[in-house]
Symmetry: C2
Subunit: 267 residues, 2 copies
């Protein structure tokens, strides 16, 4: 049976019955890295330096040294990223449960709401309205907030920073607790630079996604793209972080497997 499933996976990918969608932004120097208030130390953006390029430093080969942070570009947040998750088992990139690196996803389309209000806050009411249409969110699955952020954000002010801080979408405290306590999801993902809303510094507690998800051994994915190519239910996410010793997170390639009958529920 398991061999049949794996053969089916390879065959369906080859024949296009399962479409693969790359949810990853290209790692490049210009892609914005999260900016904290200046009293805190900052994460580095991506940079690359050529070691050799078919030249005297290496006649037949091209390669680069690279510098970045664990939270640069499309990346994964591990539980130990936040103080609430610091002592949990399987909480760093080198101790994660590998079986969680393949998991179903539900996609909450908030693109209209974000187009009308870039600081849109995801609430329990919104999640329950989604469930009324698409069914109960299954335990162990990713919840992705689709914002189409690349289309609505000002490229020169990608985090939408204003005088009173950033305005970008994210969940409120109750929505975070509901996803964990009522639905036992695997993690929460988005297209913006942080999983928490731009104004989440003012929530109680601040940064509720980080506070509650990391504190429950759950995950985050951010700086993704192409969420508009995913169905509401039925897709499967491959998210395998680098195995960094004691890593708090990791840039990674996030891939979605999308069945051709996209509306068929995952379970």
């Amino acid at each position: 049976m398991s061999a049949t499933v794996l053969n089916g996976l390879i065959t369906e990918i080859a024949q296009g019955g399962i479409k693969m969608v790359d949810l990853t932004e290209t790692l490049r120097p210009e892609y914005p890295t999260i900016q904290l208030p200046e009293e805190f130390k900052q994460a580095l953006p991506f940079s690359a330096e050529v070691i050799s390029k078919y030249d005297g430093d290496g006649p037949a080969w091209y390669w680069q040294n690279i510098t970045l942070s664990e939270h640069t570009g499309t990346h994964f947040d591990a539980p130990c990223h936040w103080v609430t998750g610091k002592d949990l088992p399987n909480g760093s990139t080198d101790t994660l449960i590998v079986e969680n690196m393949i998991a179903p996803v539900v996609v909450i389309d908030c693109s209209k709401e974000v187009a009308a209000d870039k600081g849109f806050i995801l609430t329990v009411e919104h999640l329950q309205k989604w469930e009324a249409e698409h069914g109960t969110i299954p335990a162990g699955c990713w919840v992705f907030l689709r914002s189409d952020w690349r289309k609505v954000a000002d490229p020169d002010n990608y985090t939408n920073m204003q005088e009173d801080g950033a305005h970008s979408p994210g969940p409120d405290v109750a929505a975070c607790r509901w996803m964990i306590e009522e639905r036992d999801v695997l993690g929460f993902g988005c297209e913006t630079v942080g999983t928490d809303a731009g104004q989440a510094f003012s929530f109680d507690p601040p940064y509720p996604h980080h506070y509650f998800f990391m504190g429950s051994g759950k995950y985050g994915l951010q700086c993704m793209t192409n969420l508009d190519q995913l169905p509401a239910t039925g897709a499967v996410i491959i998210s395998a972080p680098l195995k960094i010793l004691n890593g708090s997170g990791s840039p990674l390639r996030v891939l979605a497997l999308v069945p051709d009958r996209a509306q068929e529920p995952a379970q």
Copy 2:
């Protein structure tokens, strides 16, 4: 059908019918990076610097900046890594065909040969003997050379460097050409620091894996571990490199999906 396959994948992973095996070495400063003759520029080993750890630099969060090369730790070689593949389409980490990031694998167990001779050279004869026992190597699949290198190598001389250069296993020129021209494989992977044999600088052409595989738009994977946990046929490899702009390769998490009826052929 495609939805059924994806549901089956999630169910079998949850129930243990499909076992996930992590083929990745932990990214850590001590893990050896390939060393070239000193006239060439070198790739950096992995290093990490704490940005904050629940302290004054970031009271609620822990994260690190990291530096490494595209070819540090368990990593992927893209076609543009070698001059023979420099102008091929889909040849860098940001232009790779994503469908190739999930592919079957055949595992050639050379652990006995390597235990007897650390510089063991894989030949066409050896591959044909493997086929006589396990069936024809299918097109589009990975070929992994299992050496159990971690068990046989001297930890203080991991590349097994001697006066006349390194002695570690790898394929000869004819084996590389045969895998490409007669079997059209996807790539070649191993547990040693390089896909080419330690003595491959003296082959004609030098470094035949790099020369022929990169020049044919095919791939390499190296510095893997746990290949002794894979069946000869029937497993599926997930190898999704970072999406580095013009990247020649990338550290990555390599995962294997192993069916419980391991001896059943993949096709």
